[in-house]
Amino acid sequence: MKLKGAQILLRCLEEEGVDTIFGYPGGAVLPIYDALYDSNIRHILVRHEQGAAHAADGYARATGKVGVCIATSGPGATNLVTGIATAYMDSIPLVCFTGQVATHMIGKDAFQEADITGITLPITKHNYLIERTEDVARVVREAFYIARTNRPGPVVVDLPRDVMENVIDYESDKEEICIRGYRVMKGFNSGQVIAAVDLIRKAERPVIYAGGGVISSDASLELRELAEKRKIPVTTTLMGMGAFPSNHYLSLGMLGMHGTRYANYAISESDLIIAVGVRFDDRVTGKLDDFAPHARIIHIDIDAAEIGKNVDVDVPIVGQVKEVLAAINQRLDSVEEYTEWHKTIDRWKDEYPLVYGAPSEERIMPQHIIEVISEITQGKAIITTEVGQNQMWAAQYYKFKYPRTFISSGGLGTMGFGFPAAIGAKVARPDLPVFDIAGDGSIQMNIQELATAVQYKLPVIICILNNQYLGMVRQWQGLFYKGRYAYTDVSHQPDFVRLAEAYGAVGMRIKDSSEVEKAIREALEIKDRPVVIDFWVEREADVYPMVPPGKSLIEMLGGD
């Protein structure tokens, strides 16, 4: 059959099971857009390419499928960069298609030429520049394969215009993918599993430290089985929220810089840490030398390079979390004991619960808003966040119960991520309410996507915790720079209610604590357009507890 490169591309996407693409057109991708016009694949037209990358990312995080976005050459492609880096840091599977000038023009500084494979080299799992139409099918299949297998990540495929225009004879073949330098990890070292089981049996003060890898490996059930069998307390990273139910009696909540005191104490006192799909990030470990000083460490990760990267471990196990945990569980019997360790942890939980200042009529506490959303939705919602205090409060106060319900930029910390990610999540999961917990600073970084949400009738609920500050930065200035609030006051801001309305969304402003619940319930009733709720919150509320940078986990400020 005679087909254009662009048509082959779309056939391959259909074969990969792609149902939605987030994108923005331009000259270099015209042939692809022309082919899309005839395709069953849904194209969501964003208003800025960064929005396309984050929306594809939100879609991927909500479903576990590969997210797909497309942008034109040059500025379109470079606008994707922040989104690609965000997905890379959090190991999210994306395939990003970029237009490119025709092959004979490459390297000549042609109009809208940017070396996007060069630019994205350090922020992609792999990338391709396709030079022949004959290679389109193979490369697209490899790209999806690489993005979703082993440690997931973004793959960029750069598509010169002539490669997409050329017509070749094409028959779809289902040849097996064979990449010499890339093997999908199968199995694990069972000797190491036995060693792990042995350590778990002997441990007196074990803690499970679970992260994003549990979610990407779809292993929450196995995790729960391990915890319940051996009565092991579980703390999760920011990326692991939802991997273990927050209301479970063994849950310690989040650990790390803004983790709970009891999670950080438990880690610091533990004699065995079972690290599952985590990468010992500095926001988690605090001062490395003082991290878990009494503990042996079992580390389960699909990426061998993560083992021993930051922390020396006693029992490394390279493999899929799901398979490894299942193997460990199989070899362990249940215990029923309530030990000294559990008593100690219960005491910490009683002594150091998460606390914040009491809300009053005139004073809305941002934490209270999150608690109300949690109360109303009972974990049956997707919560995306922007970056800063809003993000930390969402992680601390929302009771997550299910994986893939918390979507946040952890590794890169990208302001402006939450709203487009919420759009992607809503497209993927129309059955669930989707909230973007936002700051008044962050929301302005991709506010243009209101037009997208309105156009596609996506009832995403944006809750702006409006403190008229770049709150998280202000908090650090308060703590470490003598309260000199250099350029963090953003009280010069648009009227968010009128702005929402101008876009065709619903806008609400809430200044009174007693109206918080009503507003959220009202927003949940709206099914055909986005809602922006501008909550005027206590301006100088801080996120506590906090491990100051460079300090050990037990040197926490606040929350005592």
């Binding site: 060069g118 080299l121 350090p122 792999h126 520049l129 330098g181 061998a304």
Partner: protein, 162 residues
């Protein structure tokens, strides 16, 4: 800190060298020398990378390199019995008064004279790093006009493959 010689087979495709170099730069590892060339299989190139670092760093370098899709195999041949070679071209000042002396040095090192100018000679030498350093030192007093030195290439002795 120890010198390690990594023999890395990679896809012979454009951009692969950049990927490897970018990885070293981004992770803050220092390449001491690097030589690339096609192997007996034209779709595969071999990079011989000399890198300084303790075992932990080398382990990270290796694991990170393996994550590059275009990297096929990595062997640390530092502990193997091996043949190592570098090649150098040295253009040295050489008027009639010193030519004989230079020719003697060239003979001692079993190097070769590959170009004769009116006041200069180009000398080619191959050998391990020690020998190359030594010939360079011996010629320096005459005045080195230009010097080009390749990275190290290496091969494990005996029947096995690196």
């Amino acid at each position: 800190m120890k010198k390690h010689i990594l023999s890395v087979t990679v896809e012979n495709k454009p951009g692969v060298l950049t990927r490897v170099a970018t990885l070293f730069r981004r992770r803050g590892y220092n390449i001491e020398s690097l030589a690339v060339g096609e192997t007996e299989n034209p779709s595969i190139s071999r990079m011989t990378i000399v890198v300084n670092g303790d075992d932990r760093i080398i382990e990270q370098v290796t694991k990170q390199l393996y994550k590059l899709v275009d990297v096929i195999k990595i062997v640390d041949i530092s502990e193997e019995k091996r043949v190592e070679r570098e090649l150098v071209l040295i253009k040295v000042k050489a008027d009639a008064t010193v030519r004989t002396e230079i020719v003697q040095i060239v003979e001692i090192f079993r190097a070769r004279i590959v170009d004769i100018g009116r006041d200069s000679l180009i000398i080619e030498a191959t050998g391990d790093s020690g020998k190359i350093d030594a010939i360079e030192d011996s010629l320096r007093p005459f005045g080195i006009i230009e010097l080009v030195r390749t990275g190290k290439i290496a091969m494990v002795r005996g029947g096995s493959r690196g």
